[in-house]
Each structure stands twice: as C-alpha cells, then as structure tokens.
Symmetry: C2
Subunit: 197 residues, 2 copies
DNA sequence: CATAAATAAACAAACGTTCATTTATTCGCG
DNA sequence: CGCGAATAAATGAACGTTTGTTTATTTATG
C-alpha cells in the first residue's frame, strides 16, 4: 500500500496560512489552495474533512505551537517579575520569528472560528498560568484582581506591540515600528509597576 | 426625478454589519445581504461600488462613530488621569451600548481591510491624542515613551476588557464576564500607576 | 496483487455583478 | 391646479465564474 506524503500535508498547511494572511479568511478557496500547494483539490479532502475543518485544525496547531513556545523555561513557581518576563520574551520571540503564523492567529482570534478552535485546545496552558497567578497572589508579589483584569493588563500590551511590529506600522503617517528587546523590556517594566502591590 | 430612499441604505448597512459579525467576512454575500435588507441585489450597487467598497465604507463610518463617542467631553489640555479616564469611560460606554458595532470593528481591525480603511479616516483624532500626550509629558504628568509603547499600555487593556465583555466570555471554562464601571476603574487605576512618573 | 494515496474531471450551488425594464418622484408648462 | 416629460431609484432575471465537494480512475508502494 501507498503511504501519505507528509510533505504534501505540510505544503497545504503552509499555503493555506499564507493565503489567509494575505487575503483574509474569505480569500482562502479550496481550488486556489490546491493549485498553490501543487495538489489536486480532491487531495485536500484526504487530509481534512472540509474547509471549516481545515481552518479549525490550522488554528489548533498554530495555537499549540505558540503556547509551547511561550512556556519554554517557564515555571509557575517563579517570582512574578521573572515569570512574566520569561513569558513576554518567549512570546515576542516566537511572533517575531513566525510573523505569518502570528498574523494568522490574530485573524483567527477575531473571527467566528476562534471559539470553536479554542474549545479543542488543551487546558494545561491555562492551568499553568492560573497556578502562577495564585502562587504570586499568595506570596504577595501580585495584587489580587479579577482574572480578566489581570490578563488584560499583563498581556494585551505585549500582544498590541507584537501586532504593531508584524503589521510593520502602528498608525497611518507613523514611521515603521520595530519591536526590539529594549522596547519590550521598557513596556514590561510599566506593566510590572502596575501589577506589583 | 426620484430620490434615494435613505431607509434602504440604512437597512443595507445594518444587515451587512450583522452578517459579518455573525458569520465572518466571508459570510457576507451580496445576494444574501440583498435578501436580508429587502432590496434587489442590483440596488446594492447604487449605494456601493462593489463588495470591497461596501466593507471599507462600513469600516470608515463605524470607526468615525466610535471616535466621536470616545472624544466626547474630552480636551487635550486635561490632566493625564482625567483625560484617560474620560476616554476609557466613553469608549467603554460606546462599545457596551453598541456591541455589534464593536464586534464588527474588532473583526475589521484584524483583517486586510483595516489598512485600507484607516487611510480614509480623518487625522484629527490622532492629532488630538498626540497633543494630549505631549502636553502631559511636558507637564511631567506622564512618562516619556515611544508612542507605540504608550498606546499599548494605555489602551489595549481596555480594548481587551471590552472584547471579553462583548464576546460574553473570556476563556473556555470561565464564567461569563461582565464589564461594569467599577471593573473599568480598577483596571484604569493600574494603567495610571504604570504611566505616571 | 492488494491497498490506499493521489488525481483529473465533473457536479450543483452560490458567487459578485450587470442589464434591460419598471416604478416613483420632481418639474416646467398649460 | 393637473399633466405629461424627464430623470434617477429600484428591480427581477440573467450573466459568466468560482465555489466547496464528490466520483471514477490511475498511480505508487508494501
């Protein structure tokens, strides 16, 4: 019998993400994707149930990669400043090294696919972060807050900076924005100041 | 001669936004939109050049409404704390009163339409905010920062909280999140602490 | 030779858009 | 005031494409 050609599946995944980043979710057509990945349209349906399944699978996989990268060398027992620093630098590094994956995830995160995909993602990520937060509140290294308030202050500035970077610009009539490590650390300082008791 | 029926255009705009929010940008089909707005498909092309033009025009208009609401009673000569408070409360109020418009803008902002639309938006908004920032740095009420760092710390936590609210939930397995005024003010306090010298 | 991957060709349905026609409204004229 | 001429809004039906997906067939490999 004949085995699946894994390079084909990889080509499909990559081209699909590129198409979505370049022309939006409605720019992803199965026939154009097949052409771009050098396979027959029917081949797509060997690897994915249908168009929706393809998009959801891509989201889950890219999300997983991002989470693993974000938690590299991270430990929920770390001090708050150290733990947040590691997460910020990990996440920024991943996004800067994978700008297309990063733009793809941004697009999914604000589409109707986000909910369906996030239900299929493992809960370890959130459990680890939840433990980290509780540890630090108990140790009085972090003010006690509703989880959503904590999350929005602790992470959304980073995500916004990353978005500015991968988009190449922040606002019209502004010069191109480059997210460098000193800039990341400068923003992180502000966030730590906000969240430390 | 016969004049345009403005209720028709309004119906088209509203239904289009609803469709995009409910089923994504690729869920907006001109024929289904015509049916939903009770007009002929051809009528859409009296008010809009084509599908792209429709989406861009919707973005520009909703963006304008949002900006006007955000700057109500705002003055660039205000103290930093007072000015930021007004903007936060204005923006939150608008989004909570217009959740569909808010979800629509979130979706546009992370799609390829965002750049094209933001180039068509007046620059007064950004000029006013730029003045506000410079005033407060000069008065030593605000630390001096790259504009993108300032922006991401000052506003993205609010946008994230609003998103949690209009989505109805923040993360899987978390109870529904309601953005109330005390929560907004709690987050605002943290951000002010971060940005004050 | 068995088996499953991979394909080319085709399907109906839906897509964005246009065209020939009808409908409603304003306006100059009697 | 009343009425046809003028004009643009509004339409239903149709255009050729492209859509997502399937089917019958071929290809490669254990």
């Amino acid at each position: 019998m004949r085995y699946k050609d894994e390079t084909k599946e990889q080509a499909i995944r990559e081209k699909a993400i590129t198409m979505i980043v370049e022309s939006g979710l409605d720019g992803l057509s199965m026939q154009r994707l097949a052409k771009a990945a050098n396979v027959s349209p029917a081949t797509l349906y060997i690897y994915f149930q249908d168009r929706d399944d393809l998009i959801v699978q891509l989201s889950v996989e890219e999300n997983r990669r991002m989470m693993i990268a974000t938690l590299e060398n991270f430990d929920p027992d770390m001090s708050f400043a150290e733990g947040l620093r590691i997460q910020w630098l990990n996440r920024a590094r991943f996004c800067l090294e994978n700008p297309i994956a990063s733009l793809f995830m941004e697009q999914i995160r604000h589409s109707p696919y986000h909910q369906r995909a996030s239900e299929l993602v493992g809960s370890e990520f959130h459990q680890t972060l939840g433990l980290f937060v509780r540890n630090n509140i108990a140790r009085n290294e972090l003010v006690s807050l509703p989880f959503e308030v904590y999350w929005s202050v602790a992470f959304s500035p980073l995500y916004q900076l990353v978005k500015f970077h991968v988009q190449g610009r922040s606002f019209p009539n502004r010069p191109a924005f480059q997210l460098t490590e000193p800039v990341i650390l400068q923003a992180l300082e502000l966030v730590l100041k906000a969240l430390k008791p």
